[in-house]
């Protein structure tokens, strides 16, 4: 990566954190004015939002904005930063639905409030309190994301277009989430279904729509939306496939999740579907028996990791990631995208797909 690009990307990330910090401080003061009992709500969301996170969605949105001819602008950065709050909603609710106890090496939100219940010897059921708190904190993060976007005023005609993209992105996200939950209830594994879910749940939502969001902010007329799709859709799939690999083979000290977390949760990813498709009858049966097993042991996790490698599914997924990334980079030839945009999006493609967390 060029050192110029690296500086720009760091600066955007820092700017995003800065905007989030200001927004959360102000929003926290507002909650405090309602009742000091809301302090753990603010503290948990601040901790969740400000400590860690790769900031991909704001990065793609802001670079999508620059690539569409937008010039550096604080309001635009604030609008892009709001996407982190939307992502916080998705992650908080996701952890609750998956029963994931850990996020970035810390307890997930429902676990945090369960602990708060226990530590303070509160009345009633700690698990139920954790559940309720996670539902409400996710809802609040979703509403705050919208409030933050509404406050980052960019001009009326621009805002209407941005809202339309934003709504579409959020609807696709929730549709993808439901399809993902539903897929876990199916007895057959399908690579094509897994890829479709990945597309809605993560691909479109993480890359294509943020780019469109940025283009709308730049008020760009022309073919840039479809050019961004030609780059964003394959890259979004590659991004999700990398997530799938990390969910099985990732280093817990880097991912912040336990080893083989997706195996414990029984996630029906493209990687798993492919391993099943390529496996022998015996391997298929082992996969079926161990995947999502509630009290799966570390030994069984490592057995599954070996099995998946033996089917060759992981190297096949690596090949798909390379080929999808190449396809994405090919779409950057478009004359609609600024030179700076092309250069930054080239580097972002690598960051998004060759990561270890």
């Amino acid at each position: 990566m060029s050192s110029d690009n690296s500086t720009v990307i760091s600066r955007i990330r820092d700017g995003v954190v800065n905007e989030l910090t200001n927004f959360l401080n102000e929003s926290g003061r507002y909650l405090d004015g309602i009742s000091p009992e809301l302090a753990p709500v603010t503290a948990s969301l601040k901790d969740f939002l400000l400590e860690g996170g790769k900031r991909f969605r704001p990065l793609f949105a802001y670079i999508g904005y620059l690539g569409a001819g937008g010039s550096e602008n604080q309001s635009a950065l604030k609008a892009c930063a709001s996407l982190e709050l939307l992502q916080a909603c998705a992650l908080i609710h996701d952890d609750l639905m998956d029963g994931s106890d850990t996020r970035r090496n810390k307890p997930s939100i429902h676990k945090r409030f369960e602990a708060l219940h226990r530590e303070n010897s509160l009345q009633g059921n700690a698990t139920q309190f954790g559940l309720s708190s996670a539902v409400l904190l996710g809802d609040l993060a979703l509403i705050w994301s919208d409030a933050m976007l509404n406050q980052s005023y960019l001009g009326d005609d621009v805002h209407r277009k941005v809202f339309a993209v934003h709504d579409e992105m959020r609807i696709e996200l929730m549709a993808g989430q439901y399809l993902d939950v539903f897929e876990q209830t199916q007895s057959t594994k399908s690579v094509s279904r897994a890829l479709k879910i990945a597309r809605y749940k993560s691909g479109k939502y993480s890359i294509e729509r943020p780019l469109h969001f940025g283009a709308a902010m730049a008020h760009h007329e022309g073919r840039i939306e479809s050019d961004y799709s030609a780059y964003g859709l394959p890259l979004g799939e590659a991004f999700q496939l990398r997530d799938d690999l990390l969910g099985v083979f990732g280093d817990p000290s880097l991912t912040g999740k336990p080893a083989g977390d997706d195996l414990r949760e029984g996630k029906r990813t493209a990687l798993i579907a492919l391993a099943s498709e390529r496996g022998t009858k015996i391997q298929q049966r082992t996969l079926e028996n161990l995947l999502g097993k509630p009290e799966i042991s570390p030994h069984e996790i490592s057995e599954l990791q070996t099995l998946i490698s033996e089917t060759g599914a992981d190297s096949e997924i690596e090949k798909m990631i390379s080929s999808l990334t190449e396809q994405a980079l090919g779409a950057l030839q478009s004359p609609e995208i600024t030179e700076q945009g092309k250069s930054l999006l080239t580097d972002l493609a690598v960051i998004a797909t060759q990561r270890s967390k």
Copy 2:
């Protein structure tokens, strides 16, 4: 109620249902385009939104709009109707957090998806599938409410003001919901804390903010916001106190909830706090033992109902409802509110506080 007002109120309610029907049909087609597996999502939300519901928030918003000098307008009605989708999110998540199995005499959303899981012999845990579906359907309802509002375009300067009120309303709602959940974990009951929660969770959200939302749509400058608060805040408290009474003494065939539902859930309402405050030591102990008891029997529910009546808490709450309603009606003298608005808001005050469901 004058027959004119009755006609206007019916027409607004019908208009709200009509706008919701159009929006849900279109949004359902969009989901269907993503995947036919989303059909139960659309069907459940349609059923939830279109069958029943008192439509109080759209009514207060639209009448707040008329009262602030707005003239009948389809876009304004659509904007007001969007509040029903926000309320759907609140109810779906509320039922999940409370473990309520019934809403309007039908299974609540998490129960519906649990049943779908069982009926189709899907893989995995039915309860977890119900939970995940309810989380996501609530999220989707929240996002759809925003999308519907964004589509009901009323002019740029108006929209910005409407958004600010809308964001504040939603933040207050979630803050109130959390305080309510937190209150259930406290060992002491407090009438003043219960009233504060009622104010945020329901009073401001159900009446005051919808009126402000309507005034913002009418682009009304002047004192009308504080006049609406002077009417809306006491009426909102009265509205919630009526809910508290119905939650304990309501007729299940009218409320659509089991008898004494709040007792089973252990809700710390103002009614319960007052009964505890006024009760003898023995009554306090009975209340403490039975309230929120997981397998509470119909006999124990009726025992609690009698106990609460014996403390006189219910008649005291009735008196508070009357006095708050009177206070609200007194605020309608304001010259800022149109004559039609005053007349409609007078009738709505009665409808909101003298209801049996």
